[in-house]
């Protein structure tokens, strides 16, 4: 009996281990294929691919800077909008919400994550973009002089893209943050109350305790925003120009690949598009590594500081 159990344990370990290794192999394989297929473009443009702004399929000149900029700018803006809202939702559901409302609210936030991105895109074109245009046109002229709001008020552009991305990442950030808050030990809150903390202070202590998990949730949302394609391309205006203006039509890496890959016939053009994919892959890798590092260093500091100290610090 014990013998057979140890054998099934062994098989189980082998089985799950294989799946784990498979995942690593898969990621490496994607990296290798991307690198191999972009050789032509890497040789021709070198680092200029990351630095130049011209994307001209006719002349065979390719620079991905506008796409890199558009991807990072839209994702960062989306997180700036989404994080406070998502955290608010998470705190409300886990700490303040009446029990009757809790399940429906959880269900609805998770439903947002289940909506296909093409539906977000259509909603963006027909509802969000006209609304954004109305806001843009009503902006006073003095503000329109600022670089942040320069350009024609088309509705289409960075602001619409950031808003739609924000809506799309909110369920991810709020769901995970909620789970993280739920796992904060009751002793933390009780301790805060025992020290005479108000409800707000107790929640702040819980948030502080859960901060590594919350940062993880935000980073997951960031990763999601970086790769989102369809909804973004439908509202961002698809114009490869670097601009800080929220009104300017811009472009993202995922969008240009999706838009141009099917019709890219010559080798250099295809290679440049694959290299754009490689750049996106590398940037995602860097951001994920940095967020791991951040979480790891936060977790280490937290253990070093000892838990009672943390709670007191948060509640003070």
């Amino acid at each position: 009996m014990p013998k057979s159990r140890s054998r099934s344990d062994f098989l189980f370990r082998i089985g799950t281990g294989t799946f784990g290794v498979l995942l690593v192999v898969l990621v490496c394989a994607i990296g290798v294929v991307l690198a191999r297929q972009s050789v032509l473009s890497v040789q021709k443009f070198g680092m200029n691919f990351w630095r130049t702004e011209i994307w001209d399929p006719v002349a065979g000149e390719f620079g991905a800077l506008p796409f890199i900029w558009g991807t990072l700018y839209s994702s960062v803006l989306a997180l700036l909008i989404a994080t406070p809202i998502a955290l608010g939702i998470a705190v409300f559901i886990s700490e303040l919400c009446p029990a009757v409302l809790r399940q429906p609210l959880v269900f609805i936030t998770e439903l947002l994550a289940a909506i296909p991105s093409i539906v977000y895109g259509l909603w963006g074109i027909f509802v969000l973009v006209p609304a954004v245009r109305a806001v843009e046109t009503s902006l006073p002229d003095a503000m329109r002089q600022l670089p942040l709001f320069s350009g024609a008020p088309l509705g289409l552009g960075m602001l619409s893209a950031a808003l739609i991305l924000a809506i799309m990442v909110i369920p991810f950030i709020s769901s995970i943050s909620r789970e993280v808050l739920k796992s904060v030990p009751a002793a933390q809150r009780e301790g805060a109350y025992a020290l005479g903390a108000t409800r707000f202070e107790a929640i702040r202590a819980a948030l502080f305790y859960a901060r590594t998990g919350i940062v993880g949730a935000v980073m997951l949302g960031f990763g999601r925003a970086l790769g989102e394609t369809m909804a973004v391309t439908m509202v961002i205006g698809n114009n490869p120009k670097v601009s800080v203006s929220l009104f300017a039509p811009q472009y993202t890496m995922a969008a240009v690949i999706a838009n141009e890959f099917a019709e890219a016939a010559d080798d250099l053009y295809l290679s440049a598009l694959v290299e754009t994919g490689l750049v996106l892959f590398i940037i995602t890798l860097i951001i994920n590594s940095l967020s791991r590092l951040l979480i790891w260093s936060m977790a280490r500091r937290a253990t070093a500081a000892q838990e009672p100290g943390v709670a007191a610090e948060g509640a003070s």
Binding site: P57, M234, Y251, E260, A265, D266
Partner: protein, 342 residues
């Protein structure tokens, strides 16, 4: 035990044999342009009704993808909205023949608040608007062609396709024929480095942009405009007439071209001369190897093409495509005979 096994085995063999006999269905795969997809799928299903043993499967993955797949021989035939370039032809393992199947056109669509009149455009005017040189609707260059229409002083927003597309190819092919500046600055391809404007995905993306943005001008396929009842402007042809795109004005453009059709049919008919010709028209092509490896499939395709170019043309009008003129069909019949089927 043994006999059961034998019986099962022989039964399995018999089943396989029967299945083999029934599966004399000829399956042919093709891939390419999205623009002719509605008529191609209509043709394939109608042809299957007459010849139940022929199943032609077509994936509308885009012209570029179609050229690539037929070059790599992963599909038997390709389809493209633009003719293959000489480099692409050289990259193929054998000689590829182009066969025009139907005609399409691209039309300018616009949205100017309080202007309901049908606007007149000329080629150079459209090129200047898309180059970003004409930026206001009340520009004298527009007013000159549209006497009697009161145009507002509002900004022009150019909307173009963001995805690579045959529609873009036809549009910029026309612009570069009528504007030397367009030709040298931008050029012709399925996607280009646009000097100005915003990009929408697909015909529906561009038309949504135009409909929602006051002062916008864009371009969509004629079929799309017809099916969705979008108003569009007329364009001045080489004879100076302002022609509105229609099935007949597009076929007229091809009829003009038939006279000097090159033997390989790789011809652009944008800016074609002639009376009543709509200048932003184009063929769409089906791509076949002259000497394909699989002769049985080649024969089936030749039979199918013979049907599609004659009988099949009657389905054009319902779907909004312009049928090929008789003269072109005759030339193609002669070219089809060159395909080696044995």
């Amino acid at each position: 035990m043994k006999t059961t096994l034998k019986l099962t085995l022989s039964l399995a063999c018999a089943v396989t044999l029967v299945a083999g006999a029934a599966a004399q269905t000829m399956r042919i795969n093709g891939a390419g342009a999205t623009f002719p997809y509605p008529i191609y799928s209509k043709w394939f299903s109608e042809y299957n009704k007459i010849h139940s043993s022929v199943e032609i499967n077509y994936q509308s993955i885009g012209s570029g993808g179609g050229i690539q797949q037929v070059t790599k021989q992963t599909v038997f035939f390709g389809a493209s909205d633009g003719p293959m370039t000489p480099e692409q032809m050289q990259g193929a393992p054998g000689k590829i023949l182009h066969f025009p199947t139907v005609l399409g056109a691209v039309v300018p669509v616009y949205n100017i608040p309080n202007v309901s009149a049908e606007l007149h455009f000329s080629g150079p005017l459209l090129a200047d608007m898309f180059l970003g040189k004409i930026t206001k609707w009340n520009d004298p260059a527009i007013a000159r062609l549209n006497a009697g229409v009161s145009l507002p002083a509002s900004d022009i927003t150019v909307a173009h396709r963001a995805d690579g597309s045959g529609t873009t190819y036809i549009w910029v092919d026309y612009l570069s024929k009528v504007s030397p500046e367009w030709k040298s600055k931008v050029g012709v391809a399925t996607s280009v480095n646009w000097p100005t404007g915003v990009g929408g995905r697909g015909n529906e993306g561009v038309s949504a942009l135009v409909r929602q943005t006051p002062g916008a001008i864009g371009y969509v396929e004629l079929i799309y405009a017809l099916q969705n009842k979008i108003a569009y402007g007329s364009v001045q042809n080489t004879g100076g007439e302002f022609v509105k795109a229609s099935v007949s004005s597009v076929t007229a453009a091809a009829a003009e071209a038939a006279g000097k059709m090159p033997p390989d049919f790789r011809v652009s008919i944008t800016n074609a001369p002639g009376k009543g010709v709509y200048p932003i028209s184009s063929f769409t092509w089906l791509l076949l190897y002259e000497n394909a490896k699989d002769k049985a499939q080649a024969k089936t395709m030749v039979d199918f093409m013979n049907w599609a170019l004659t009988e099949g043309q009657k389905y054009c009008a319902d779907l909004g495509y312009a049928p090929l003129p008789e003269a072109v069909v005759k030339l193609e019949m002669a070219a089809l005979a060159k395909i080696k089927i044995s």
